[in-house]
Each structure stands twice: as structure tokens, then as C-alpha cells.
Symmetry: D3
């Protein structure tokens, strides 16, 4: 029974600001540049969620991609889409909403809803020229 | 001397909120839905600026695309990139920062820097699935 | 009050076969080649619907893109998505489901739901390398 | 002698239907939804074939990408392009033509034509938002 | 009988240098910058050829896209692909191979092979961020 | 402290010719076909540089993507962009400028500027349909 990885791309957009409240304003401006704008800026995020497992011979599926889509919509899009990550999302109260940390958030939101070991990779595009990948550790 | 149109694509990102202060909160929520989030959301904007004119036989150019890029960077990117359109950009104080109005802003910022009649079209992608086009009137 | 054009991209997929029953099998094979396969083939169609009009000063919108999306979903996607265009869609009973004719179908489905003169253009990508545009006549 | 992986993207399109004849019509409709349409639907498939190996110092190549393209055209495109996967392709007579299984088909078609261990990955995009990856086991 | 426009995208790549031999080396370096490199540089060009006309009721086609592809291959790709535009293509002996002039070349190569008035637009992408459009005059 | 991989895409274009001076002209023409054109041809190269490491809790970054961009610009773009790889770049004097070897060049240019083990992958697109990946050995 061969194994395969299936990926679903999902779109959301959000405002954020890169700012570490434990550091001075100078440190924040020097470290984050325009990303430290106190009035926020924003992005269209393109999220890819990859799940691996054996191909079910009855369906030909590793996992019905429509089920994966609903799961990602419920656990990620409903929480992050059209939000201010710093102000509206509790998980970021004590974490900086960098692309890296948003990828970790997506992993933690999605992995518990799948059988252990099935979530393979989160890839998150912050702009058409930058993306991050997180594989769980 | 044949005429041609040249287009440069430029990227910027920004936070915004769709809200009409002349209307009630109910009207705003019903009209703009999640785009009315008081804490803002954001987008990667992909801007296409199109300039037309005769091809200069000495250069083969309608307009050196590097000059067009610098012009758009100075008049649009420096003003909108990594900004909150509602709070940081004076032009939007009495206009709603919809994609349509951002396109009008770009036209008004760029057209005066070019010979009359040369700016042909502003196309602005707000997401990979939505764009607006403005041709000056 | 400036005018602007707004475009929404929508995805659907379908099976079809190019075949003219008024002509011989030889003519059909010579004219349509592999697109004449009696068992059908299929495509992911990427549809762009463009609506123009004045920008409403109360909303900043020509037309709420969410309303346009619902309209296209109801009148196009619900009728064509995951369908066999030759067998499942009455409009194609006496028309060949070429990209050109699918674009005309989309125009006729959408235009009556908008104020007269507002629908500006249907653009339909049949593959990443081919598209057609129809402007209503 | 450093090793490298080279990838060629190839396009084909096809009709298919997800249906398990060993199960009831109700089960099939509930499991596959619109993908179970008895009249078929279809997709543009975007296939990426990745081959790894040492870089040949005489050519600078792992494998001439033109040779890889001809191999994929002969063993995949000629068999699947503009076809109905359920009716026209023998390999799918007792397998459901899901993206996962099509990826396995591509691996089995291409791997024997390459030296052992050289085929690294099959990635198959079924729509611009879904893809599967198969690495041979 | 409705009219429609069909577009085919075609890929080619070439080396070129922007240089006006009637001007001094200083003028050329100041005008063209790195594009004046005497040893040439190069691009992947993405060409879109758009043909308009009535939809033929017997075929559903404005023009069989396979015929358009062969025409563009024979008249453009075979002449420009994998070539040095300055040295290998006679048409550019007394014209600078800017994107604008390459678009004019494509128009002049393709228009005579079509019925009068059918070629609507040449669009040529020189990079993913720059393109030019030529409509014949 | 979770680990993550961050990727930056960078664009450059160049002319090149595939030619092995140790072999005959016939061998070169037979091996490289149109890529052996003595007058060169060219490409838009799309380079992806991937760096992995722990997420810094003070910044939320693995590595500030703006620092990565400047590093790649200084060590790759300034050396390869708008150049003839065969004539202008010393590293290719005794290596064929295939996509595979350009990827090795990028690795050798970037890896020494990062802490040991941080550079994870170089991916280089030579055309929209071909890419190579190099992971350092």
C-alpha cells in the first residue's frame, strides 16, 4: 500500500506588526524597520498544508482534500483571516507574528486534528518572494 | 514611428480597514463584513503601471523601465508600503481605502510626473483572485 | 465620480468533447484531433469576470466583490463545475463547448443579473497557455 | 562530483470520475460528492518529474532535460493526455483515478526507463490549489 | 455570430544587448546601464498572441489554437529561440532589440499570415515584472 | 525552540552557451543542440535560497529576510545579473554554465557567509518549466 503526501493551498489575509515589547523602541525600529510600523501593515498569506499517509484502496485518497480544506478553514482561516494578528489572536499575545511563528501556529492548530504523524509540512508564503517551512520541531 | 505600451509591476503591502464614518456601525458591518474589522487587516498589493507612447528610435524604448520603476517607487511605494492606509496616508482621510480608490490614488500620484496622455492604465491586484483597473476618469 | 473596472477570478473544472454531430466522424477527427475523443477529456477553467461602473462614494466600491463572487458561483460554477459540458448542460446541446462558446455562455448567464452595460469582459483560461476574451457581441 | 536534482514540468489534461464499483451508489455519492458525476469531469494536470544524480563534468548535466521531456511525453503524455482515465487507460481499470493514484502511475511509467534510484519524486498538481507527491513507496 | 479574441502564450529565450552604434560608448552606458554589457545578457520571453474574429458555428473556434501555435512557432520561435538577437536575426541589424521592438517584430512576422484585421495584440513579457503591448501602429 | 526554514526568491538574468572546449564541435552540437549556439542565448533565472535554523524568540526570525536578500544580492546578483556567464564570470572558465553548475556556484557563494549547516537548499528555475535543486554535496 504505497504512501503519498497531499497538499492543500489556502488563502488568508491579515494585519500585523513585528514588535518585541521587552525591548526598547530603538531596538525594535533597528531590528524590524518598516515592519515595526505602530499602525500595522498586512499581507496576503498563502498557506500550504501537507498530509502524508497510505493511499486508501477503497477511495484512492490519502485524505479527502475537501475534509482537509474544511479542517484548515475551521482551525486557521476562521481564526486568522481578516484579523490583526497582534490584537485579535490570543496565541500571539506573547509571540511575535513573524512568518516563522505563524507557521508554528498553523502546525499546532492542525496537527491535533489529524492522526499522529500525518501532518508533514506547513509552508507559508508571506509575499510572492518569501516563504517559510515548518515540519514540527 | 510605432506606438507601444510598457508595463511595470511593483509590489507593496499595507494594512487597511473599510469603514465609512458617516454611517452607523451596523451599516458598516453589514456593508463591509470582515473588511470592517476595527483592528485592520492587510494585503500584498501587486500594482501594474502602463505607459504608452511612440518608440524612440535612438533607444528602442517608449520609456526606460528603470525610470518608470524609480518613479513608481518614489510616488507610490514610499507612501503606501508597510503603512496603514487609514491612519498613515493623508489622501485616504476622507476616502475609503478600497482597491478602487487605491487605484485612483496611484493614478493621481503618477500621472503628473509623465507627459500628458502617457499614463494608460493602473491595474491593482488586491488578492490573487481580485483586481481593479482605472484609466483616469 | 470616477469609473473603474473590477475583476473576480473563479475556478471550475469540467469534461468536454469537441464534436459537431452535423459532420462526419472523419471531419470531426481531422478538425478537432485529440479534442474529439468520444470518451471526453477535461480542463481546469479559470474564469475572470470584469464589471465596470462609477465608484460609489459611500462604499468605495464599483460593486462588492463578494456579491460578484456569489453571482458567478450561482450562475456559472453551480451549472458548469464538475460537469460534462456536452451531456449535463442544456445550453451546449446545440453548441460546441469550445472555450469561445463557454465564454459566451458565461456572458449570457451573468449579464442579465447586472445593470445594463456593466458587464465589460469575460476572460476564460482553458489551459495556462490559452485564453479567450468575449465582450458581448 | 556533486549530486543535484533536476525537475521538468509537463502539462496534460484528462477526464475522470471517482467511483468504486465495489461499493453502492450511495456510498460513492457520499464519499466522492461531485467528483462521482457519472458523466465525468476533468482537469489540467501539471506534472513535475524530479531526477537526481551526479553532475556529469563533460556536460554539466545530471540528465539532459530534453531527454527527460521526451521520456515523459512518451510514457505519460501520450497515454494520459486528452484521455478519459477511467475508460481509455488500462492501468486504471481496477484503480480509482485519484491524484494519488495518477502519481503512482507516473512513477511506475517513468522509473523503469531511468537507472535504479534516479527517480526522486513525482509531484502532480490537480488544480492550482491541490497537489500530491509520491516518492516511490 | 458573436466575435471573440483567442490568445496563445508561447515561450522562447534569447540573448541580446541594448546598444546604439550611432552613439558613443558613454552615451550607451549611461542610457542602457547593465543592459549595454558588450558580452550580452538574456531573457526568457513569454509571448502572447491575440487573434480576434467571429466564432465559426461549425467548429466553435475563432481560429484553431493549434494552428495559431504552429504559425507562431514557425514565424517567431524558429527565428528567435535560443538566438542572439543582435547577431543572429537580420531584422535587428538596424534596430535595438528592446522589448518594444521585439513586439513589433512579432507583429510583422505574424500579421501577414492572418486575414487582414485579425491580429489584435502582441503582448511580450521580458521578465515576470515587465511587459509591453503592441497593437499594430 | 522550534526550527524553521526560510526561503527568499531572487531574480537575475544572464546570457550563456553550453559548450565543452575539450570536445569537438560535432559532439557539442549533438550534445547541446540549440544551447550550443556560439553567439549565446539567455534566461531569466529565478533563484530560491533556503536557510534553516532555530527561531530566535527575541525576533521571531530564523534570519531577517532582508539580511538574506542583501547577502544574495551581493554574492550572486552582483556577479551574475546582466552578465555573460561564459565570458564575464571567472568561476565558469572551466565549468559549463548549466543550471546544475549555476546552482553549485550559488551554494559556494552563499554558504560561507552563513553559520555552518544553515544553508539548506538552492533551487534555480532556468525556465518556468525546468528547475534544479542542490543541497551541498
Amino acid at each position: 500500500m504505497p504512501s503519498c503526501a497531499v497538499t492543500r493551498r489556502v488563502h488568508f489575509n491579515a494585519a500585523h506588526r513585528l514588535h518585541n515589547p521587552a525591548e526598547s523602541d530603538e531596538w525594535n525600529r533597528a531590528t524590524f524597520g518598516p515592519c515595526n510600523n505602530p499602525n500595522y501593515h498586512g499581507h496576503n498569506y498563502e498557506l500550504e498544508v501537507t498530509v502524508e499517509g497510505p493511499i486508501d484502496t477503497a477511495t484512492g485518497y490519502v485524505l479527502d482534500i475537501a475534509i482537509l480544506k474544511r479542517l484548515v478553514d475551521a482551525r486557521v482561516s476562521e481564526v486568522l483571516d481578516h484579523r490583526n494578528l497582534n490584537l485579535d489572536v490570543a496565541w500571539f499575545r506573547d509571540r511575535i507574528p513573524s512568518a516563522e511563528n505563524i507557521a508554528v501556529f498553523c502546525w499546532e492548530a492542525i496537527a491535533p486534528a489529524l492522526p499522529a504523524g500525518r501532518l508533514q509540512r506547513i509552508r507559508l508564503w508571506e509575499t510572492p518572494r518569501n516563504y517559510v517551512e515548518y515540519t514540527g520541531g
